[in-house]
């Protein structure tokens, strides 16, 4: 059983209340007010509202949601599909699981609004297979909506609006979080990402026009429709409005989820989590999941929004904040990171398949105190040969955290070469 967010805002306000996962409980808290307002307007108007709100996707890339919706063809020659990315697999990220388990109807309401806006007749919610509780919760919520005849033919009583929602379980592969890898997987294939173009809006799931959005992205939509664009934009930053569920993990006193406006300074986010455990000193923070470069303690004032983090050589990603105290060996961190990416590379592109294996081998060799200067030089070079060279962004995601660790903690690597062993006896065990 997960722990509800320690700091709540509009999205998670009712996550402590179990009845919120039932249709009656959701409606008692004002649920579907956003959908009703959406259905009173034309699909084009709804797309314009989401565009004007400035909502950015919460799955890691931060793309403008309204703009993405506007890419869908306006004609109805072929069935249009919404795919909801619930394949949350980014290490350090655990917000979508919370939203699916505690606020399933927020997600469903957002999907139905999206289907109205884009003219979609089918929505697939692709949930990672390990999230059995989230899958059961969403399935029960979908079943309740069908039971009350709110889905299927004449969805929410609107003639001609026929939407079916299917909950689909993944089967354990990080790469299926990449949107075209997810589409391949949904089609019953290996989850190997596709070359783009064609983009999903033209050729997506089963070759049909498709829009893929993250779970949390859909959960924000009902609030925008109900409370308005100005209300939404009054939270967060100008370029990144709204809140997000920051997931703080690692060496803090109180790890967990904190729903805070985008742009909240990193120092404040860590403060909510009780600061570094046992009064120890901070060594580094990975601010956006395992793919995003580490920040040193000197960057604690950075506002947690993409436009500020990208100026400091990292990214907001999924808002998964991993905190490391002074005991941590950054070469061990690199070893854990590189193992993961070697394990999860789909193997399609040479630069990624070979590069991730090389990087891991080098990290391991350095960590064990068996490496030379030439090995460290090679570790600096290999990631450069990976990023930007492959079909999808996985190789970038594998290269960036290693480059970040080398940029800010090169001393740790050099100390291993000098002493021919790991000089951090207190560090976490490998």
């Amino acid at each position: 059983m997960n722990v509800e967010p320690y700091v709540k805002n509009y999205l998670s306000e009712h996550y402590g209340d179990d009845s919120f996962q039932t249709l009656a409980g959701y409606e008692a808290k004002g649920g579907f007010a956003g959908l009703r307002k959406a259905l009173a307007q034309t699909p084009e108007q709804v797309v314009e509202i989401v565009k004007a709100s400035g909502l950015r996707g919460r799955g890691g890339a931060g793309f403008a949601t309204g703009l993405k919706w506007s890419f869908m063809p306006k004609t109805n020659e072929r069935m249009k599909v919404i795919v909801v990315n619930g394949d949350e697999s980014e290490p350090g990220s655990f917000k979508d699981r919370m939203i699916m388990e505690r606020g399933p109807f927020e997600v469903l309401e957002g999907i139905i609004i999206g289907a109205w806006a884009m003219g979609a007749q089918r929505a697939y919610i692709y949930v990672r297979g390990e999230y059995t509780r989230a899958i059961r919760t969403l399935e029960a919520a979908v079943k309740e909506l069908y039971g009350k005849k709110r889905l299927g033919k004449s969805t929410f009583g609107v003639k001609g609006f026929d939407l079916d929602i299917v909950v689909h379980s993944g089967a354990g592969a990080y790469i299926c979080g990449e949107e075209t890898g997810l589409l391949e997987s949904l089609e019953g294939k290996k989850g190997q990402p596709r070359k783009k173009p064609p983009f999903p809006a033209q050729h997506g799931a089963f070759g049909l026009p498709t829009t893929v959005n993250n779970i949390e992205t859909f959960a924000h939509v009902p609030f925008i429709l109900d409370r308005g664009v100005e209300w939404f934009k009054s939270r967060g930053t100008e370029k990144s409005p709204g809140t997000t569920l920051f997931g703080v993990s690692g060496h803090v006193e109180r790890p967990g989820l904190f729903e805070l406006p985008l742009g909240t300074p990193l120092r404040e986010v860590l403060g909510h989590a009780g600061g570094v455990r046992g009064g120890r000193r901070l060594k580094g923070v990975m601010p956006g999941g395992l793919s995003m470069p580490v920040l040193p303690p000197s960057e604690l004032e950075v506002p947690m929004a993409e436009e500020f983090l990208s100026q400091r050589g990292t990214h907001l990603g999924t808002g998964g904040v991993m905190v490391m105290d002074e005991s941590v060996c950054m070469v061990r961190v690199a070893t854990v990171v590189s193992y993961f990416f070697r394990d999860e590379s789909c193997g399609q592109c040479t630069q990624c398949r070979e590069g991730t294996a090389w990087v891991h081998k080098l990290c391991q060799k350095i960590e064990r105190g068996r490496a030379s200067d030439a090995d460290l030089a090679l570790l600096s070079d290999v990631p450069k040969l990976m990023e930007g060279q492959t079909i999808c962004a996985f190789a970038d995601a594998a290269a960036w955290p290693i480059q970040g660790l080398l940029r800010h903690f090169r001393d740790d690597f050099e100390a291993h070469l000098r002493e021919q062993k790991c000089p951090f006896p207190e560090s976490f065990e490998l």
């Binding site: 059983m1 997960n2 722990v3 069935m79 949350e88 697999s89 980014e90 290490p91 350090g92 990220s93 655990f94 979508d96 699981r97 089918r122 990672r128 297979g129 390990e130 999230y131 059995t132 509780r133 299917v166 689909h168 379980s169 993944g170 089967a171 354990g172 592969a173 990080y174 997987s185 949904l186 089609e187 019953g188 294939k189 290996k190 989850g191 089963f206 049909l208 997931g247 703080v248 993990s249 690692g250 060496h251 790890p255 967990g256 989820l257 395992l290 998964g320 991993m322 490391m324 941590v328 961190v333 854990v336 990171v337 993961f340 394990d343 999860e344 789909c346 976490f428 065990e429 490998l430």
Partner: protein
């Protein structure tokens, strides 16, 4: 496969514009019946989905949650990605493996438990953690984890 499993798989076809979309759910259903998908199961699925057996096999081998070999009666996955490692999950995994007499992942001699490390189960705020037959157990120490595993039949 049993006739019920086949019927359940066939009932999923209409959910997808192409029936192959039901392949992942179908593999889960066959695993529920048999625990893993063997060569015979692979051929049966291929026939049902009008695919070559190799096309089913490449899907089976791509995903962590599909098994082509017999498994223990219970699956224990201990998350060892960075957030869990920072809070001692690798030490926990090693202690549990020693307790079960299994090293580097595998199944106990009596076929009771298959234990493995796992890459991020999305429970980073409640580390260390393990998933037992799909149920999450969080904020663990060795004693708490051992009790849960010893309680499995």
């Amino acid at each position: 496969m049993k006739a019920e499993t086949r019927a359940e798989i066939e009932s999923l076809f209409e959910r997808y514009p192409q029936k192959r979309g039901a392949l992942l759910p179908a593999i889960y259903l066959l695993q529920r019946e048999k625990g893993h998908v063997d060569a015979e199961g692979t051929r049966e699925l291929a026939a049902l989905f009008e695919l070559q057996p190799i096309q089913v096999l490449e899907v089976l081998s791509f995903y962590n949650m599909f098994y082509t070999e017999p498994q223990g009666r219970h699956h224990v996955y201990v998350c060892t990605n960075l957030p869990c490692s920072l809070r001692g999950s690798r030490t926990l995994l090693r202690q549990l493996e020693a307790h079960l007499g299994v090293h580097g992942g595998g199944t106990t001699a009596d076929g009771r438990v298959t234990i493995c490390h796992e890459e991020c189960l999305g429970s980073c705020g409640t580390a260390p953690m393990m998933s037992v037959d799909g149920t999450y157990h969080e904020n663990l120490d060795f004693e708490a984890a051992r009790r849960i595993i010893d309680g499995l039949e």
